[in-house]
Symmetry: C2
Subunit: 150 residues, 2 copies
DNA sequence: TAAAATAAGACCGAATCAATCCGATTTAAA
DNA sequence: TTTAAATCGGATTGATTCGGTCTTATTTTA
């Protein structure tokens, strides 16, 4: 039920990246690029861990990377269009509480014919919806009372 | 993000227990008690694993146990009043995606002042609500189309 | 009184996960 | 042309948790 540490760190790293690169240039060439070392310094996470995280985030299309000297990272799209679900899925894969997904048998209860399996997608979708409702912009604020009213 | 195997098995075991003891006697003394061995046989799970599961379920107040010869297990309350959230909490403890709960520092991002921490309770509550909405009675049905309309 | 059946707790092996390190590739600047 | 800087990918090590098995204690019936 717990989020993996990698996914937890990824959220923190994305928040830091969004702070360092608040606005991406409209021409696609972000001016204020942040490198992995700066993100590690700001978040307090180990540098190798941040490097591995940004690799997955880039592969998932949440960050854009520019190699070489002067390179760095930038948000692929606006911070308001990146949600917790995107970050979690980028690091952990599809959001599912159980391995009882379509295509895999996983006969956990042969006698019951796995009667609980048809009900997991409902829970998974509800969870995904909850994560999708939290954009990155809301996480950037140090403390707000918006959550209380929701 | 994945549920632990123990919690997954606990759901299956509770479904099997609800099937073997559909109605609990109003006098509190259930007539049709199921023992751990029968549950293991019906679910296909290892018997020692089922024993460990029922121990936690009894401790959590979801099952009642009667020791000695002729003893066994019975649902503590009606199957309609037992939800997925109850079972998961009985096995895994409080439902929380991150260890960022009140009382524990866990300074994942000292530089940011853990700006993401105030937002986790919102997600946790949404997840708990989704699990609470699935009663045990719905899981007992082999296959129904109720989930589709919801 | 004795035997049988049960739950409850303790122990151990194994697997997954997190973290780290190293080398390869690419680009800009001197 | 050369040097420096920064990302990308894989492989390795260590530890924590998880899953499974076993033994012990308690209770009821014959």
């Amino acid at each position: 039920m717990r989020l993996s540490s990698m996914a937890d760190y990824a959220v923190v790293a994305m928040v830091a990246a969004a702070r360092q690169c608040p606005t991406v240039g409209a021409d696609g060439d972000a001016r204020a690029r942040a490198n992995a070392g700066q993100l590690a310094l700001e978040t307090g996470l180990p540098a190798p861990t941040v490097q591995k995280l940004v690799s997955r985030l880039v592969a998932a299309g949440l960050l854009t990377s520019a190699r070489g000297a002067g390179g760095g990272l930038a948000l692929a799209r606006d911070a308001h269009d990146i949600s917790l679900a995107d970050i979690v899925e980028a690091v952990e894969g599809p959001i599912a509480l159980t391995p009882c997904v379509e295509g895999i048998s996983h006969d956990c209860a042969p006698g019951l014919g796995c009667s609980v399996r048809p009900h997991w997608p409902v829970v998974n979708e509800a969870l995904r919806l909850a994560l999708s409702g939290v954009p990155l912009t809301r996480l950037m604020t140090p403390h707000d009372d918006v959550d209380m009213v929701q």
